[in-house]
């Protein structure tokens, strides 16, 4: 019996003395391996009398169980410290910078065009495009600006060589020629005849001979046009009030409609938004000042007629607004020329994330 207790204490001693998993495995083999001490005791059972075997067998099994439990416990302890050691060895300096990655930006003009699209899209408008290089009929004549009209000079137009048939070619001075191109389209005329309502916005590039601190030879405009049988100036006002409040995100933004003159609208209105100046900073919203932001009016009967529609039947409104200008106002961008300079510092500062959702 003393043999049993010696083996027990030796085995447990070996297990607890194992300093690592390799030593523990050696201890396991020494006790439970083919030639192990406890295995040796098992082997003696066969030679015993049944009575004795039963009694001794139970004790040996108990010992075996006890050693196995000790092995398991020791293994778990050793495993945990091995992992701990490994983790300690794998420590990094998290203050190091991440791998170089570029952060892209989108230009405010495109951002504002997207915003225009969302707001006017909500009001049932669709997007229309037209060429930057126009003939003078679409840019002027169709819009009730006949040859020799002072407005043709007023607008300081860029000219390209005339076409073979002598038609003068210009860089469009406004996005309004797309009004004519759209109204002249057979599909649109069919839609209108069927009682439909034409609602388009035309964001795009426009050109005038002008280059100083507040003018650039190229700039961006958005044209709006609504044509049907019943749209009146109240709708023009409603549409622009709704737009300006949504765009500038000022719910009670006051708007002022003043009579003005454009050859292609009658009556014509210029539109101001309320604002105030404090310490040289502009704040858009109810205030003691007005800021002109766009020109508008009811489409001139001559324009409707020039575009192949009967002004006795059809009417509607049009407006034109500077995209660069409203971008400057909304986002506090001080200088128009910088829009076109592609200075990375400017692009990064005033630009928008590609992933920023347009509301």
């Amino acid at each position: 019996m003393s043999d049993l207790s010696t083996i027990r204490s030796e085995a447990l001693e070996a297990v607890s003395a194992a300093a690592d998993l390799t030593a523990l495995e050696a201890a396991r083999v020494a006790v439970l391996g083919k030639k192990g001490s406890v295995t040796g005791l098992m082997k003696t059972l066969g030679a015993m009398a049944p009575e004795q075997r039963k009694e001794f067998g139970a004790k040996v099994n108990e010992l075996k169980g006890e050693v196995e439990a000790a092995l398991e416990a020791r293994k778990s302890t050793l495993g945990a410290s091995a992992l701990e050691a490994r983790l300690a060895a794998e420590k990094i300096d998290v203050s190091l910078p991440t791998r170089p990655a570029r952060e892209g930006t989108l230009h405010p003009i495109g951002q504002v065009m997207d915003e225009l699209g969302v707001i006017f899209g909500e009001m049932g408008f669709t997007w229309a495009d037209g060429p930057d290089i126009e003939d003078d009929w679409h840019n002027f004549t169709a819009l009730n600006i006949p040859p020799d009209h002072p407005a043709r000079q007023m607008q300081d137009t860029f000219y390209l060589p005339p076409r073979a048939d002598g038609t003068p070619v210009v860089l469009r001075t406004h996005t309004s020629p797309v009004q004519a191109r759209t109204m002249l389209s057979k599909d649109v005329q069919k839609m209108l005849a069927a009682g439909g309502s034409l609602r388009i916005i035309v964001p795009g590039r426009t050109f005038r001979i002008d280059s100083d601190a507040t003018h650039t030879p190229m700039f961006h405009q958005v044209e709006g046009l609504v044509i049907d049988r019943t749209t009146h100036m109240g709708h023009l006002k409603g549409c622009l009030v709704d737009f300006c409040r949504a765009f500038f995100e000022v719910d009670d933004l006051p708007l002022r409609f003043r009579p003005s003159y454009f050859p292609f609208t009658e009556p014509s209105a210029e539109v101001d938004i309320g604002c105030s100046w404090k310490d040289g900073e502009l704040k858009i919203g109810a205030g003691d000042s007005w800021l002109e932001i766009l020109g508008s009016g009811m489409v001139h009967p001559n324009v409707i007629r020039n575009c192949g529609l009967d002004p006795a039947v059809y009417q509607g409104f049009a407006f034109g607004m500077g995209i660069d200008r409203i971008a400057m106002l909304k986002y506090g961008i001080p200088d128009l020329r910088s829009f076109f300079d592609a200075d990375l510092r400017w692009l990064r500062h005033y630009g928008f994330s590609a992933l920023e959702a347009v509301r």
């Binding site: 170089p100 989108l106 699209g117 997007w127 930057d132 390209l160 001979i209 709708h235 592609a342 590609a354």
Partner: protein, 800 residues
Amino acid sequence: MKFTLSWLKEHLDTKATLAEVRDTLTMLGLEVEGITNPAEALKGFVVGYVVEAIQHPNADRLRVCKVDTGTGTIVQVVCGAPNARAGMKGIFAPPGSYIPGTDLHLKVGKIRGEESNGMLCSSRELQLGDDHSGIIDLAPEAVIGQPAAEALGLDDAVIEIKVTPNRGDCLGVHGIARDLAAAGLGTLKLVKADAVEGGYASPIKWTHGYEAKPDSPCPIVVGRHFRGIKNGPSPDWLQRRLKAIGLRPISALVDITNLVTFDLNRPLHVFDAGKLAGDLVMRQAREGEQILALDGKTYTLDPTISVIADSKGVHGVGGIMGGEDTGVRDDTTEVFLEAAYFQPIGIAASGRKLGILSDARYRNERGIDPESCLWGAEVATRLILELCGGEASEITRSGVMPNWQRSFTLRPDRVKTLTGIDVPGADTASILGKLGFKVDGQGPWTAAVPSWRPDIVGEADLVEEVTRVWGFDKIPTTSLPRLSATSKPVRDPIQRRVPQARRALGARGMNEAVTWSFLPYKKAERFGGGQPDLRLLNSIDATLDTMRPSILPNLIEAATRNEARGLSDPALFEVGPQYKDASPTGQRTVAAGLRHNMAVPRNWAGPARTVDAFDAKADALAVLASIGAPVENMSAQAGAPDWYHPGRSGAIKLGDRVMAHFGELHPEITAAADLKGPVAAFEVFLDAPPPPKAKATKARPKLVLSAFQPVERDFAFLVDAAIEAEKIARAARNADKALIAGARVFDLYAGKGVPEGKKSIAIAVTLQPVERTLTDAEIEAVSTKIVAAVVKATGAVLRG
């Protein structure tokens, strides 16, 4: 257009305040651009009476004056003006005043030992004129202690309004008053313009050089001779009025013509009758005829230009400017007055051609009241006789009155249907009446347009008149009715490609720029452009004279600018137009971009690397993928325009159609742009990929997922160096379409161990079993097929 409040009140009987006038003008469409009052700058300055002026004991040129400023105490002022004397009245500035002419604040001080408590001012010190020869010497009637602005007649607000091109009638104060009266701000006063009887027949007659008709360049001209007159400075009230709006008084006769121009929008001209030879003729200039005009410049004329001539030569450019030689002088005693009507278009064209800006041109090209030839001459006659004395002849005239009479019908509901406002019928008629229309009927109304409103050409104009006078603020605010419960996408699928491309490139770390649509001709030429029909006829300067054939030159220039500012490794893109011809279809929408120098900068975690063609290829493919183009069916091949590096560039094609170009820029171009290091650039033609088919269903094809593990096998081939990698991958992919899911090049090697002129390319082929796991024999069979296909397509040899 500038005028003063008191001037306005000569035409408008009103109790309205300045603020009411200001707000009403703006809401009538006569936008107030500014209001200034010279009295503001003269606050605190008063009329001072010089009680005594004695020689300064220590300075020859100074006097010590005792001045009564009306406060009860007499102050001592040291004054250097030679005209300072006892008994005079001048403008006294107390200590603390700001003297605008010298930009100084006055302090009490001692001048050469004598105390000075303020100063007596000259015109220049108060910025009222150029005179600095002495202090202002007021008339004896001036009241001691009266505010200076009052004493000088300067307490009068100057209002500046913006007059739109259609409202020529408001380039005269009377027209402005008429609008205000219509808007309820008072009563319009009539202009006294009845005929002044002439005392003798005019020795100079008007004739036409052509048969005058209503649409002739100058249909009608009126004149009158004056004798025994005395020119010279005009009276104070007239000088003050002209000065207030920024005009320089010249002489009574010239000032009268300026007054009538600004008061009644009736440009006039006076000739020195003594310098004219015989009758005056209104005719078109002869080719090459010359005139020395009143601005001192000589102009060469042509037959499109109206002139006024006598038997010796040309003495005026009709409606624009008179001639120097026949202009009036201070000693002129006989004059001839001209009042004419010209076709506005002709004046605009002549004025532009000659480059003359004058108050007469400005008004005549906008269209003045043709009837004013007649009544304007009478108004001027009265003023000349009043201010210069003498005697007036009978009127002489030539030509016919243009046909300005016309009427339009205004339907009773038209104001409402066009503007949404309900204006009562009586008010509609009354507004038009006050604006000078002769209105007939109870609605519909027939409105006869007054002679001074050439801009009214239809019913819509009548609606505008009624609406703007009734008030634009009364237009209702009516949201547009919805066309459908939910809104449709604002852009169509092709238009949507622009924001898609922008977002794709922004997400790839590039910065979006917007650059000019034009560029210098030399650059256009280098990038395949510069065709004659794309060169501007009137560019601002040579750097912006040609429409861009490509966006890249502008981005290259932007990269150079950024590098020059120390902003390294720019990665810029732009989505915008480029132009291949001037037709409406010659414009394409392109997403172009470039990356300069380092793709991966120095960093602790790995190697740095410069950009190359594959960065550009990745950008181009990303754009194509973002717009939904079938990238999987496209192939990249050598062949790009010559602004790219010939060996390091290519085209991405769908069949034969080019979708994009990409590659390193030609070293010659980067060198010219002063860019060190490579530039990887791309141009994706957003309109090139075919539009998505308008399918009835948005449903995707069924997704088939295999239950069996895919198998990957690697192959290395030895091929001629010229063989394109994609050819090998494609041959492998097509070797067994049912089983092969993909083939990818993962290694490229040339050098030691590979024969000269050859390269080794390794591909990984993915086999995707569909029905059951592949046996070794089946894998072996497919492998054999792959090798055979590659060998056949490329002449490659499988490496052992």
